[in-house]
Symmetry: D2
Amino acid sequence: MITSEIFYNILYAHTDKMGVVYYSKYLEFFEAGRNDILKKIGYPYSKLEEKNYALPVIEVSCKYHNYARYDDLIKIKTIINDIPAVRFKLEYEITCDEKKIVTGYTVHSFVNMQKIKPVKPPEDFIVCLRKFI
Amino acid sequence: MITSEIFYNILYAHTDKMGVVYYSKYLEFFEAGRNDILKKIGYPYSKLEEKNYALPVIEVSCKYHNYARYDDLIKIKTIINDIPAVRFKLEYEITCDEKKIVTGYTVHSFVNMQKIKPVKPPEDFIVCLRKFI
Amino acid sequence: MITSEIFYNILYAHTDKMGVVYYSKYLEFFEAGRNDILKKIGYPYSKLEEKNYALPVIEVSCKYHNYARYDDLIKIKTIINDIPAVRFKLEYEITCDEKKIVTGYTVHSFVNMQKIKPVKPPEDFIVCLRKFI
Amino acid sequence: MITSEIFYNILYAHTDKMGVVYYSKYLEFFEAGRNDILKKIGYPYSKLEEKNYALPVIEVSCKYHNYARYDDLIKIKTIINDIPAVRFKLEYEITCDEKKIVTGYTVHSFVNMQKIKPVKPPEDFIVCLRKFI
């Protein structure tokens, strides 16, 4: 298992008229976590792009447990549990002061941008992951 | 079953550098569909608010089947299958020229904003739904 | 002078915790108006793209006169006053029930995407504009 | 003059299909800078809220000099030059590796949220500012 943790400060831009973070914003926070964990394993997303790979999302699931509010400092924990085959799953736990806010996961497909079709992940990506899993 | 359909024109604002609609934007399109279907049954969300109810989301699920792109005219179909008890589920199908783009659902909880606790939906809301289901 | 008018229904997604539309969202509404007026003159933005032109923004100005709120139906009026040389200016007036909400303008540069440098607008674009101005 | 600097990592969420940051996103980065400089002077925005003040924006101006791209680490510099009377002006310079990306300013009005009318800033806010200006 690999995990990474980043922190984000909630802006007015993230909130809605109920005074809490609007539900779609958590998917942006998931992306921030995803970028961070890929850097942590030594394979930033930009390196995937350079090799003509992309990781389009094919599935998202979120459970909303509590509200995050303006000026909250949320912690975005990202987790990779398994070496991906064609599909790549990441899990997320967003908390604020130990209180669980949102949990969820995204599933991505490795795609070759020249052929525009699903492919296996690059060999060196798996090598990077294997150092941790 | 109740359904509603609205159309939305994709802006640059919705796209990301992969040239397709960014994955969180579909949750905004879901909200647009949700607002529309509540108006269609004669119980707009603003009426819920006036009565001190809110419908915070507690769960989201999305499957991404195809990409929507700039200037696409997407169709957002929203579906209510069941009379809600405490939890209220809505389903969504986003298509473009008959091509399935995203499907998903949201689950909401009825909340009394004064007591800030989950409650049953207002009686007249159920009456409105029963005309269709 | 050319003008176009479109309508937009305010979502929770557009609001912030003050209960009004967040200030950056109006720039998305400006884009919606821009897309519409270009279609109206018979030269949609996608046609510019096909010819390898882009219209990156180089300047924005907004004045906020009143608040738009959830479920408001805003009117986005877009205005082109002048035939562009290298720079292309569009003006916007966002109103709700005749009440002025936001006024502003954007200035864009015509750019050739292959040379990535500012250029004059395509000849047939000017021809389309001249039918109106 | 007071200045603050924060850094932000560009996500896919911020980009559009031209591969660069979408023009409205900079207004969110301005807000992040605004929050930061208010904390720096010892008067966070949440303190204004507690005292029933708000700072709605009444004017925005942006000039776009260069593009920021995915994964860029941008620096948001926020500047307060003057002690506000009723109107409060903040200036912003967004750079990436010393390259100027966007410059702009916002003008805000102090508003009493109970009376919903423009007022002078709270006395202790001015005291905080005077330590720096």
